[in-house]
């Protein structure tokens, strides 16, 4: 896909507008910024629009946000195409983003990605026929200490292997995703095989 051009996508609606609830939210976001600096609200507003629109931003949404902030539309297109977290094409209900940058790769992201491919039956950048899953490969998610990592929705699933990845996907499909965070017996980022520091009592 060329980033330099708008791609008309299936389901690309001609119009977009914030819901009443989101207008309130948007106004609250804009109000955080000093007078004259309202354009700073662009990123959170695009995020809000993307959430409202099922995880992606049609051109109508970009235009709407531009007009909302009285920005030139091209300034919004620039931002939306720059940040990979804004999806300019439709995505499935669950956008499975597998990190394959070096630390995750060293810790087995190849197996995680392969498990996704195999289990979902789609390639990277594709969406399942039922529209439930979109699979993406992404660069570092900044959770290397819990590598390999997969990002779905607002949650990170960490310390994955092929088996736990399949479990995750099945859970998402069934509407009962596993608890976010490490998928091994481990508290957040603490050492997986027991505490290494602060082990002596009374120090």
């Amino acid at each position: 896909m060329s980033a330099g051009r708008a791609v008309a996508a299936a389901g690309d609606s001609a119009t977009f507008a914030f819901t009443a609830e989101n207008v309130t939210k948007a106004n609250a976001i804009v109000a955080k910024y000093p007078q004259g600096k309202q354009q700073s609200a662009l990123l959170p507003l695009l995020d809000l629009a993307q959430r409202q629109n099922g995880g992606w931003l049609p051109q109508a949404a970009l235009d709407y946000v531009a007009d909302f902030l009285t920005l030139a539309r091209i300034r919004v297109y620039e931002v939306a195409t720059f940040y990979t977290m804004f999806n300019l094409k439709p995505v499935g209900q669950h956008h499975v983003q597998v990190c394959t940058t070096t630390p995750c790769w060293l810790r087995g992201s190849d197996q995680v990605l392969e498990a996704c491919r195999h289990h979902l039956g789609i390639g990277v950048g594709e969406t399942t026929a039922d529209g439930k899953f979109t699979l993406s490969e992404v660069e570092c998610l900044a959770a290397c200490v819990n590598a390999p990592v997969v990002w779905v929705g607002d949650d990170y699933y960490e310390d994955l292997d092929a088996a736990s990845t399949v479990k995750l996907l099945d859970g998402l499909a069934a509407g009962k995703p596993p608890k976010a965070g490490p998928q091994v017996k481990r508290q957040t980022s603490a050492p997986a095989n027991g505490a290494k520091t602060l082990v002596r009592k009374g120090v």
């Binding site: 060329s2 980033a3 330099g4 051009r5 708008a6 030139a72 091209i74 297109y77 620039e78 195409t81």
Partner: protein
């Protein structure tokens, strides 16, 4: 004022200057791609790296403010290596298609690679390819050549005032584009071609028609509007291949409008290349002797009182001088250079020029537009207004048509009623103008070319006088012209003499048979139907409305084909030599009039261009100071009277179609269809 050392040389520069500018002041050349002195600093090409003492690595000199005590070196191995490296990176994805690139031979990247680059490439991987964008009928794109300097984006955003271009995507996938495919909606878009340091943006009409080194360059003056932009005409043989801007800080800086740049293909079509005489209702080719003889015979038969002349929008001052002298010698007072009927005051020069000067706009703080759309009437005046607006503290009011000038304009009303209130001091804006330090007003031809034009002019003068626009050292009263010929015509007195008829009078007289002959010097924009049964002589360069109606056609030269003088809207006379020869039997216009005077047995007292120009200087001494503005003395002008009710309209309803050359230009026709149809037509899939 910081004082710094550059390559061992001590130099003091103005505060706020950058290291790059300081180096230039010291005579040290700094290579650059993204930096341009009329655009904001981007600092993204890294070509201008220099070494600064105590800095751990080379600095980008374009973005580093010059500071006191800095020690800069540009001649060290480290700088050489840095430039080498930057160029190597820039060339990673740049195609090696210089032999077929229109920029070849005048390419910054080519030149700087030769000067600062390596002699070979170490890159063996595939190069990146980028899809070309469709930016409309004027600018062609080869985006694979783009080095992402972002000059075009900054030009569009800052100078042209149309935020349509941007950087899309990131990193390896970054592209310059509009995202949603559309043509650039700016009348200055051609300047991006000049700004592009590589061959990514090229001229679409010029594409693959010539190589830059085979062109003969002539410094010319643009005659498509009354700005008098300084241009360079590049020709091959007898053909104008392209038109480029030439630097003149006082007039056009380094920009020209798309009309000035791209209408040249109209010079090749529909030309009058031989004399014609109407026989049995049809224009038939004739010799010069036959054509001049036919005109002279009629003139002699009718006598001075029954012949009249109207000069058109692109007539040169020399030809108007000669034709005016001839008609006066024949005893005809019926002359007019105001074919649109504008109420320009004869004799009071301050009442028909742009007194504050174009550069003077930058000194103003409040501006009142009266019946004008400067964006279409004089795109570069509008660019200067925008530049002033970007400087901050500039308020623009308008009485007249709805406007989109690329900067905010407060519209006060549509017509004379509002103007009357301001003139009477009862409108709130009168206070604002009186309170301003350097107020100015611009009266357009749309406000003057109407029955109450003289009253509008008087009202404008009253506003200028009561709002402190006219005082020592500042004259904010400005008339904005749309025709290159107009001020020159007024200056050499191509206006009705004692008892003479003006344009309306001439048309009326011709229709009513009081006049037997009307001589049109390139006048195409009058209502030919009103000429009735009169014998019409058309002297001009295009087979347009005038030539169609004419009984005798005398083929003249277009603005690129004659050594001629134009006086721009400021009253700045500018002379330019001919770039190419006129086609066929066409001749320079003053010489045609001189030849006619011979045929008539009343030879004009000049035999050379130099002598015509001497005559011009005797009529108006400021013609001796070519290129300069001679301030006009303030004098009474305009006629107080009742203002009409009709709203002001701009005379330019289609920016791309204002004269015979534009009307013959395929490029302008395409632009007109695309941009003037309300933006409904799409590019790419269109046509």
């Amino acid at each position: 004022m910081p004082s710094l050392t550059i390559n061992g040389k001590q130099i003091t520069v103005d505060a706020g200057m950058t290291v790059l500018q300081a180096c230039e002041a010291a005579g040290v050349e700094i290579p650059r791609f993204c930096y341009h002195d009329r655009l904001q600093i981007a600092g993204n090409c890294r070509m201008c790296l220099v070494e600064m003492e105590k800095a751990p690595k080379p600095i980008a000199s374009c973005a580093m403010p010059a500071a006191d005590g800095m020690v800069i070196r540009t001649d060290t191995p480290r700088v050489t290596k840095a430039r080498n490296g930057v160029l190597e990176f820039l060339l990673i994805n740049h195609p090696l298609d210089c032999p077929i690139c229109d920029q070849g031979g005048e390419c910054d990247l080519q030149d700087q690679t030769l000067g600062y680059g390596m002699d070979h490439s170490r890159y063996e991987e595939n190069k990146r390819a980028v899809v070309d964008k469709d930016l409309g009928p004027l600018v062609s794109t080869h985006m694979t050549r783009c080095i992402h300097c972002t000059r075009c984006i900054r030009f569009a955003t800052e100078i042209a005032g149309v935020e349509e271009l941007g950087t899309l995507g990131r990193g390896e996938h970054m592209e310059i584009g509009t995202y949603v495919e559309k043509a650039l909606s700016s009348e200055l878009s051609g300047n991006m071609i000049d700004l592009c340091p590589v061959g990514a943006l090229n001229s679409k009409p010029y594409a693959y028609t010539a190589r830059s080194w085979e062109l003969i360059r002539t410094e010319g003056i643009d005659a498509h509007d009354a700005v008098g932009a300084n241009i360079r005409i590049d020709a091959r043989g007898r053909e104008v291949m392209r038109v480029l801007p030439r630097l003149n800080e006082d007039v056009n800086e380094e920009w020209i409008s798309d009309k000035s740049r791209f209408a040249y293909d109209g010079l090749r079509r529909n030309r009058l290349d031989q004399p014609y005489v109407r026989r049995n209702g049809r224009l038939e080719p004739a010799t010069w002797a036959e054509a001049l003889g036919a005109v002279a015979e009629r003139m002699r038969a009718l006598g001075g009182a029954r012949i009249a002349a109207i000069a058109g929008d692109m007539a040169c001052t020399e030809s108007m001088t000669a034709l005016g002298d001839l008609f006066r010698a024949l005893g005809s007072p019926h002359l007019d250079c105001r074919q649109d009927g504008a109420a320009l005051p004869v004799g009071a020069r301050a009442g028909y020029v742009f007194n504050s000067t174009i550069a003077g706009i930058e000194g103003a703080d409040t501006c009142l537009l009266i019946g004008t759309n400067p964006r279409w009437e004089a795109a570069l005046v509008n660019a200067r207004l925008r530049k002033r607006y970007l400087g901050g503290g500039f308020h623009v009011f308008s009485v007249g048509p709805e406007l989109d000038l690329t900067f905010p304009v407060e519209r006060l009303g549509a017509g004379p009623e509002t103007l009357g209130e301001i003139a009477a001091g009862t409108h709130r804006v009168a206070k604002a103008l009186q309170g301003a330090k350097q107020p100015m007003l611009i009266v357009g031809q749309g406000a003057l070319a109407r029955p109450d034009g003289a009253a509008v002019l008087a009202a404008a003068r009253r506003i200028a006088e009561t709002c402190g626009m006219v005082r020592d050292g500042w004259n904010g009263f400005n008339v904005l012209h749309t025709a290159a010929a107009r001020v020159g015509g007024m200056d050499v007195g191509f206006v009705p003499g004692q008892g003479g008829r003006d344009t309306a009078g001439i048309l009326h007289g011709a229709g009513g048979r009081d006049l037997g002959l009307v001589y049109l010097l390139g006048a195409d924009e009058i209502d030919m139907a009103q000429l009735g049964q009169a014998f019409v002589v058309y002297q001009g360069h295009h087979g347009d409305a005038g030539a169609n109606r004419a009984d005798v056609v005398l083929p003249g030269a277009a603005y690129t084909e004659k050594s001629a003088t134009w006086v721009n809207t400021e009253g700045r006379p500018q002379a330019a030599p001919a770039a190419v020869a006129p086609p066929g039997d066409a001749r320079e216009d003053w010489a045609i009039v001189r030849a006619l005077s011979d045929t008539l047995g009343k030879p004009l007292p000049y035999d050379s261009l130099a002598q015509v120009r001497e005559r011009m200087v005797r009529i108006a001494p400021w013609f001796a100071r070519s290129g300069e503005v001679t301030p006009a003395a303030w004098a009474p002008f305009g006629t107080e009277g009742k203002l009409g009710a009709a709203p002001f309209r701009s005379p330019v309803t289609d920016f791309y179609m204002t004269n015979a050359i534009c009307r013959a230009s395929a490029t302008m026709a395409e632009c007109s269809e695309l941009y003037m149809s309300g933006g409904k037509a799409a590019t790419g899939t269109h046509g």
